[in-house]
Homo-oligomer: 343 residues x 2
């Protein structure tokens, strides 16, 4: 009962092993009579196909992996949900791996996925340097789609949101509201998104030629806890240097900042305005509803999965594509209070 093989099913049904395989894979190539006999045997023995053997023979698995930076960040889980639908519609299986923004774990995961000969990998890689492990996958012929990484390499598809534009939107809005001392809360800058959102903000400032300053309040990660620590640091500044507005690299940071600021008695947005990034579902439900730069989270995952499937199917003929979505600023109370321009 525990582990019947196709061979035992064949014996049980009084047919050859190849016939059982045919029943499983091309049922109409076998006569109704024998087919039924085989199906009965399968049911009786509780036979379950052994995927390892099948894969070994096929040379390839039917799973697709998505490697995310932080499985507890709703931005990524929404993305996963988008990808999930597309992948499951094809009968394949999507497995989720969490790198936790740790390069070593990412590498380990990719090694295991390569050993498993997955059919493809969706990944938001840690850091932004050269990615030898990804190249290795690609060399082996495993399609890789970069998610939420703009820089379009020629060797792979990518799906991204224009982070520079997102940074601009946030910064323009804060400048419009009259803020002149603004801080960008985020880090490490080695994360491409973090750097690009900052670049966008800096560019907006530059373009306006406004007499304003944009400082960076560096964090070591993009979590609620890191946000709280960043807020503490900012509060340690002398009042006159303290920024009047914060642009946070993602919503988790923004929520952490918001929590700490209000805990310390500051009012948002009266004392300090906040704009986040991602527009996760919890942003709108925050203590002070959070302004945020919205990304099409599910669509990101969906599109990435579609590109991957297309590449997996068409192989050589496939043309790599780079899809870039536009972010959109959603203004809520956390930044919705104009202030007299001043320094």
């Amino acid at each position: 009962m525990a582990g019947a093989s196709i061979k035992e099913v064949a014996r049980h049904a009084g047919v050859s092993l190849g016939t059982v395989s045919n029943v499983l894979n091309r049922p109409d190539m076998v006569s109704p009579g024998t087919r039924q006999r085989v199906l009965d045997a399968i049911a009786e023995l509780g036979y379950v196909r052994n995927d390892s053997a099948r894969q070994l023979r096929a040379g390839q698995s039917r799973t697709i992996a998505i490697v995310v930076l932080d499985v507890t960040n709703p931005f990524f889980t929404d993305m996963v949900r988008g990808a999930e639908r597309v992948v499951e519609a094809t009968g394949a299986m999507l497995i989720v791996c969490n790198s936790g923004e740790d390069g070593a774990r990412e590498r380990r995961h990719l090694e295991l996925l390569e050993e498993q000969r997955v059919r493809g990998v969706l990944i938001t890689p840690v850091g932004d340097g050269p990615q030898p492990h990804l190249e290795k996958l690609i060399d082996r012929g495993i399609p890789v789609v970069l998610v939420d990484r703009g820089t379009g390499r020629a060797s792979r598809c990518s799906v991204a949101v224009d982070d520079v534009l997102g940074g601009r939107l946030a910064m323009d809005h804060l400048l419009d509201q009259g803020h002149r001392r603004i801080a960008y809360v985020g880090g490490p800058l080695s994360i491409a998104q973090v750097a690009e959102r900052h670049a966008g903000a800096a560019a907006a400032l530059e373009d306006r030629g406004a007499d304003a300053e944009l400082r960076v309040a560096a964090t070591t990660s993009l979590t609620v806890a890191a946000g709280r620590r960043a807020a503490e640091d900012l509060l340690a500044l002398p009042a006159r240097q303290r920024p009047t507005a914060l642009f946070c690299a993602n919503d988790l940071l923004a929520l952490g900042v918001l929590q700490e600021l209000t805990a310390r008695g500051l009012r948002v947005p009266a004392d300090i305005a906040i704009v986040g990034y991602d527009d996760i579902e919890f942003a709108a439900a925050a203590a002070v509803p959070l302004s945020s730069v919205r990304q099409p989270r599910e669509q990101l995952g969906r599109t990435a999965a579609e590109l991957l499937l297309e590449e997996a199917e068409h192989g050589e003929a496939h043309q790599h594509r780079h899809v870039v979505f536009q972010p959109e600023l959603v203004v809520r109370r956390s930044s919705d209070q104009p202030r007299r321009a001043r320094r």
Copy 2:
């Protein structure tokens, strides 16, 4: 380059195929000289072990799966993080599957996992009825650990939090605050947790013999959107029948309820108090910081993974265990305002 096998490595290094395998699996059984030659060949050919073949031979894979009800719910992703650590420490791989509270998807996932001969499954099953697919896994000898499902079956380990107690804690608190018209927001009741939290609340009411009522505001799922809809329904009630306090089956519901109530101009907790469940990180950062019944989320995952690994290792000798954690009420502003008892 694309797909070198162990055989080619062997030829390249001028040794037999078995020796290469030994280098990979018991390096000290082979002399330093040959070992180095083999390692060089491996590097040169870019050889990567084929896991399918390895598994086929071993009869078992090195992956462990966790099947969650809702991958976008922070409660589950925190659990995943807990399990992840334990699993990865053993060199195995944790893959995350999302059933999305859909029985058919759950079944499909379990079928695929069974075909893959995973080493074990951590699962929070959809619904509470008999679970033939789980039984099937167990029959096949694949260890299954139930997560967050109290009812200790003899055939498997389980890890849970006492949901009845959690319901009691919430209800006692609301009664202490003087509430007499209380609604339980949650559903469907076919989900065990939903039912048990309600049972706890009802039991608390019973025990006190208080002249109070507990109605059920049924929802179709445990999401923020469902919470908003539930709030709409409650607001449609005539004012005198409207509950003065809500106990929500989880924090997502509570956040949705909170959002909708405040959008409609009601004050929380002055007009309506709210208590949630899970104490996810976002509860504390909500518009009105949310009282919630805290569950040890990461520990739940950690312990479940430990039980699973133990079972996978000891096989027959393994004794199934049922670990139950105690929840804890965290009172925040959303329910922190006593009211004169009245009807």
